[in-house]
């Protein structure tokens, strides 16, 4: 297992270098003045421009710029935002809120999605299954901001069950609605994936053998069917964490949740290019770390991965 963890971490390094380089390349290797491009049609004040120029070492050759920038990332220096506050300070303030929201959303999508998918798969072709399939298709087709607005409209405005915007400090009860909205995007995929995985596992030989051993259905479902069906679901959840990050940006923006996502959202809306780049980098790093963790978890879930290769 230790070898497996080590290999995974080793494999993540080129990807980390590659992604940061790619982002940096997209922004700063473009022809023309990258800073002016980032500001779009706005004209930034010269003092700010000068400060950014120094911060990004724009007087240096491109590759030197990149390594200075990379070095900064390793020291936890993601640059400064428009207001002059270091990005790392903003992160320290907003990250806990996002983590809270993300954990709630993950909990909802996983527990809900897996249970519904399991029941659907076990009752394939029945009414429950058919309705779950149709509902999940609709959820998959709805963009997150539409879901967010509809939820805000129904539960916030029409029914008055929840606040349409989260109050400062982001208490748990205020985060319930945004968490459900955030969960909804991948929830439907998890239902479908669990379902098809359960159906497939159910027909495998070892399940029949488990019955032949005299085990009860109550034991076979969790121990042999669900346990094996979870492997592809977890893999999916890892690759789709990116969708969750984008979703968090939109959801936090709409519900005014004071997290990392809202900061990015506002920077995008206000056209604060350099801040956008810093926060996108942060999110990509989060994505990489989450994927690494899930990879390791995958090793726990599937002994074949752990020992072979």
């Amino acid at each position: 297992m230790a070898g497996y963890i080590f290999r995974r971490i080793l494999q993540a390094i080129p990807v980390l270098l590659g992604t940061t380089f790619l982002i940096y390349f997209m922004v700063f290797a473009m022809p023309g003045d990258p800073l002016l491009a980032l500001f779009g049609d706005k004209t930034p004040n010269p003092a700010l421009l000068e400060r950014l120029r120094q911060e990004y070492h724009l007087d240096q050759p491109f590759i030197v710029q990149y390594f200075l920038y990379l070095g900064g990332i390793f020291r936890g220096d993601f640059g400064t935002s428009f207001s002059g506050e270091p990005v790392s300070a903003i992160l320290a303030r907003t990250f806990p809120v996002t983590i809270r929201l993300a954990i709630m959303a993950l909990f909802i999508e996983f527990v809900g999605g897996v249970i519904i998918g399991l029941v659907s798969g076990l009752r394939k072709g029945k009414l429950f299954d058919a309705s779950a399939l149709v509902i999940s298709l609709i959820f998959i087709s709805l963009p997150i901001f539409v879901i967010a607005f509809v939820a805000q409209f129904i539960f916030g405005i029409q029914l008055g069950w929840a606040r349409t915007t989260v109050s400062t400090g982001a208490p748990i009860q205020d985060l319930i609605l945004p968490a459900f909205v955030l969960a909804s995007i991948t929830f439907a995929q998890i239902v479908r994936l669990t379902r098809s995985s359960v159906i497939e596992t159910q027909s495998l030989d070892f399940v029949r053998t488990a019955y032949s051993k005299g085990l009860s259905r109550r034991r076979i479902i969790p121990v042999h069917i669900l346990r094996n069906s979870l492997i592809p679901v977890v893999t999916y959840a890892a690759t789709d964490f990116g969708v969750l990050l984008v979703g968090a940006t939109v959801t936090e923006g709409i519900f005014n949740v004071p997290g990392v996502g809202r900061t990015l959202y506002q920077a995008i809306i206000r056209g604060e290019g350099p801040t956008v780049v810093s926060f996108v980098t942060v999110m990509v790093l989060i994505y990489l770390v989450v994927n690494l963790v899930v990879d390791l978890l995958y090793g726990l879930l599937d002994p074949r991965i752990r020992y072979v290769k």
Binding site: P14, I23, D41, P143, G242, I268
Partner: protein, 315 residues
């Protein structure tokens, strides 16, 4: 020793009850069938296929000939009717600027559809090239191509598009936004194709072709690729829907198409502040968007089921 009188506990069924049939007789149906023919026969029987196909055809017609569906100029905006209620001619009412909501939806269709189509052309071309060469030739080429794919895959494509659109803020148009989405969305296609090619290239028929002296590249084109392409078609259909959502999301975030371009994402974005007072200005474009995406995803699902004999057997 041979005799034909069995002992009492030796049972023999009467031949009339158990007639013999010829060994391995050829039994074929009336018409030839292979994966594609079977898939088409399967799809043809399913209402979901016809519903989604019909909606998609309708969307394409609306995109190509918007004036067939509305005579109202979507740019004729009169502020006095801001957020106005529906009338007999303006069936969905007016938005904040006092433009006709229905006409804007009709005229915005081509934007969404164009983005979707350009993105899937881009992702399919890149994905097929990368996936095909990585999977078929393997070795160092696979390592290089797959690592490249990993890197692109590790940046969620909407976030990447946000950065690109921020950099190209001066040149926002349908083509640039499609490029921004597609350039980071192709690894999904490449991965699916690579996995499939790895499976197919070990089949005996590939070895048989090799033993015949068919060249390696020709085997790839004639035998391996045709047998690996089915999942790519499924992914492509579904990602067309996803690309439309991506455009709308970028427009919603304000880094999509400029406000002067008519698009559902822009309309939804503009309407968000009026959620309390005029929810219809937000709801209708959202419905148009969702139905479009839903029909592509539904079509993808139908195609997936039809192309996967295992899934067909499961139903």
């Amino acid at each position: 020793m041979s005799n034909n009188t069995p002992s009492p506990n030796h049972f023999v069924a009467p031949l009339e009850e158990t007639p013999l049939v010829a060994i391995d007789a050829v039994k074929v149906g009336e018409r030839p069938s292979n994966l594609w023919i079977d898939a088409w026969r399967d799809m043809r029987r399913r209402p979901m296929f016809w519903i989604s196909a019909a909606i998609i055809v309708l969307i394409v017609i609306v995109a190509l000939f918007p004036t067939l569906f509305t005579q109202i100029d979507p740019r004729e905006c009169i502020l006095s009717r801001s957020n106005g209620a529906p009338t007999a001619t303006n069936i969905l009412g007016f938005n904040k600027q006092g433009c006709d909501v229905f006409s804007r939806i009709v005229h915005g269709t081509s934007t969404s559809l164009s983005v979707g189509i350009i993105v899937i052309i881009l992702t399919t071309v890149l994905g097929v090239l990368f996936g095909m060469f990585a999977g078929y030739y393997g070795g160092w080429l696979d390592s290089v191509l797959s690592r490249a794919g990993d890197i692109f895959f590790s940046i969620p494509y909407i976030l990447a598009a946000v950065v690109i659109m921020s950099v190209f803020s001066a040149y926002r148009n349908v083509f640039i936004i499609s490029l921004a989405i597609g350039i980071f969305a192709w690894p999904a296609t490449a991965r699916v194709l690579r996995a499939e090619i790895l499976r197919v290239k070990n089949a005996d028929f590939v070895m048989a072709a090799q033993a015949l002296g068919v060249s390696r590249f020709r085997i790839l084109l004639r035998h391996v690729l045709p047998n690996s392409i089915a999942p790519v078609i499924v992914v492509t259909t579904i990602s067309l829907g996803a690309a439309i959502v991506a455009e709308a999301t970028l427009s919603f975030l304000g880094v999509g198409l400029p406000n002067s371009t008519m698009s559902w994402g822009n309309d939804i974005s503009a309407a968000q502040t009026d959620l309390r007072t005029a929810p219809q200005t937000l709801i209708y474009p959202s419905i148009a968007l969702s139905i479009t995406v839903l029909s592509f995803i539904m079509l993808g699902e139908v195609v997936r089921d039809a192309l996967d004999p295992k899934a067909r057997a499961q139903r």
